[in-house]
Symmetry: C2
Subunit: 229 residues, 2 copies
Amino acid sequence: MKNRTMAGSIGSEIRRRILDGRYPAGSQLRQDGLAAEFGASRIPVREALFQLEAEGLVRIHPHRGAMVAPLSPADAAEALELRGALEPRLLALSAPLLTEADFERADRLLDDYAAALHEGATARWGTLNTELHLLLYSRANRPRALGLVGSLLAECDRYTRLQLSTDAAELERADREHREMVRLCRNGHVSAACALLVDHIGHVATALMAFLGESSGETRMPAPPQMIV
Amino acid sequence: MKNRTMAGSIGSEIRRRILDGRYPAGSQLRQDGLAAEFGASRIPVREALFQLEAEGLVRIHPHRGAMVAPLSPADAAEALELRGALEPRLLALSAPLLTEADFERADRLLDDYAAALHEGATARWGTLNTELHLLLYSRANRPRALGLVGSLLAECDRYTRLQLSTDAAELERADREHREMVRLCRNGHVSAACALLVDHIGHVATALMAFLGESSGETRMPAPPQMIV
DNA sequence: GCCCAGGTTATTTTATACAATTTCAAGCCT
DNA sequence: AGGCTTGAAATTGTATAAAATAACCTGGGC
């Protein structure tokens, strides 16, 4: 618990529980109950909820309380669209600047990921995935975009967590693609890594849309017409 | 004041004052003073500040208070990069679905803009610009991206407000480009409108970077390499 | 003269208490 | 019987006050 303020630590814990699924989508978050659960007053709970609302994990209706943001295929599709629009750009900026220490950390994350995959520890998968992606973009020197992508990754985790218990093949594909992306970045093949990243996000999107039974929805925000993909 | 909760209305007012420049960048926002100024307690002020921090207009350091987010050329560049990455995509989605009522509203906004330009009402320019852009993207059916672009437009307004008092030519160019964009959308020339939008954002970016004296900074987030611009 | 320790003050943060709003349900009227 | 009004309960929003934390200033020691 490295947070200096109670609202911050409560917010982190609520975020974890939302991502875990312990607070299911659409469920009411009663301030009184949360305050009792954390042994605190309602005010830090309120501030935590406000912060989480900004991240998109909670929706607050005035005088009607807070609920866990519902999961909808359209929302997942939009989050993946945004990821597809932003992450390749960040990778293009960051990849040439990644250091050897960064790659070693990436290797550790990949190993942890494989271990989690082996033992079926679904809880760790999401955070490891998020950490790896953010690490690859960390040298882009774009703090705002990085924070935004972090929120989007967290939101995507909520959906993939539903899927991954059934769909182990997708997890292995993600692992292979992650390893290949890291390898390409390490060897300086930036454009190939970006192309793979686009494919990677596309694969996640199509698998997720198929799982959610909403295959009709377009999964990628179209590039502006003057860009030839 | 259509806001149902005091925190919301206080947040709107603080946001307006930050965009106005009445609360200068980097200045401390003391909860006690704000509470006294609005005739309220500190708690709604705190909640408003949290919301504004999520929008990027305020930075909160735990136990050290809140300050208006400082203006930096790097920040402006990143905001414009993100706009350049997102807005053309939204326009490509939205433009074919715009209705005649939308175009009439756009015409009114353009007229208001011209009037504000004529009488030098710099205060209204930013909101009109934001409203026009958001109107053009409103049919894209991408609520999350729309809200994000709204925040980015608000942040860009803070910078352009510094510039516009000196640089009337840029305002007129923006007006011409806005009118042309609306015309292209109305006539169904979506890809031309998107191309113009990319140029429009690029013009704003180069002018702003020149004004901020940071012409060295790259002003556009690079497209991923496999996209040929 | 400079540096460190202790206390002081100002500010944020949290707890408790109160007020406003919504929701649900029961009762009344049409 | 169905819809509307009214009232109570629950929940959220706000105000006041106490606790905690960080910055600041003063005084003593080296």
